[in-house]
Amino acid sequence: MALNQDFLGKVYPASQPYEVGREKIREFAIAIGDMNPAYHDEDAAKALGHRDIIAPPTFPFVVSMRASAVAMFDPGLGLDYSRVVHGEQRFAYTRPVTAGDRLVVVTTIEAIRVAAGNDILTTRSDISTVDGEPVVTAWSVTVARGTAEESA
């Protein structure tokens, strides 16, 4: 089933706040094998000018993925989640995600297209603090393999 083009441009309400914990950052950094002191050591992070330890550049996906479920599983959109693969990912940072941040995500359906029989969905996640300070924007391209209609 092709994706519903009526959902192009749809903006979902802001997610519940995600509180970024120090130990979550450390756990994530260890999981990617990265012992950069900025992720582990408060003093080292502060020496670089950060308020607290910072998260690796790909960490915001943990936050955006959770929030974008509202779009991925929106029944009207018609995405077959059993057939999706991650096609592309991009981040533009205003500043690094920092321990203690309370982040909210606004998910927007930015593009819907079809290529080679696949449905291709681009979502944009605008991630800011609960106080409205922009932190990072993430774009995810999700490909549902072989789900587009032949006529598309």
């Binding site: 260890i30 990617i32 990912q89 981040f91 533009a92």
Partner: protein, 142 residues
């Protein structure tokens, strides 16, 4: 932001120190837990093969994170990264043995911008094949 690399010292063509990342099943299990992405294609061989994959594959985001380490190791302060994006072109297949897979990562500065940033293009391969496409980071240097 306190990058340890100076803009003045970098030229188009400057190569960053490369990195070789060993990936074993335990690393994927750790990444499942740390990221919250428990898709069974990343830990269950039966499931992965049932959906047509050769074996368990690494999360694309794990590969993206591994590739980024070349940039953040080089620049010192990961907060100096202002943009980072990739295409996932081929999965990293991680066998259930004592060696796992290896991701080879290299990178080169391919553009100096007037605003004090440089663009770095990253190459990541596994089993001799590229696994990321158009992998680029923009970094603000000192």
């Amino acid at each position: 932001m306190t990058a340890t690399v100076s803009y003045a010292d970098v030229e188009v063509g400057t190569a960053l120190p490369p990195l070789s990342v060993n990936v074993q099943r335990v690393n994927l299990v750790m990444y499942c837990g740390a990221s919250g992405d428990f898709n069974p294609i990343h830990w269950n061989q039966r499931f992965a093969q049932a959906v047509g994959l050769p074996d368990v594959i690494a999360h694309g985001m794990f590969t993206m994170a591994s590739a980024c380490r070349v940039v953040t190791n080089w620049v010192g302060d990961p907060g100096a990264v202002v943009e980072y994006g990739v295409r996932f072109t081929r999965p990293v297949v991680v066998p259930d043995d004592d060696t796992g897979a290896v991701i080879e990562v290299s990178a080169v500065v391919d553009e100096k911008r007037d605003d004090g940033t440089v663009r770095v293009t990253v190459t990541a391969t596994s089993e001799g094949q590229t696994v990321l496409g158009r992998a680029q980071a923009v970094v603000r240097l000192a």
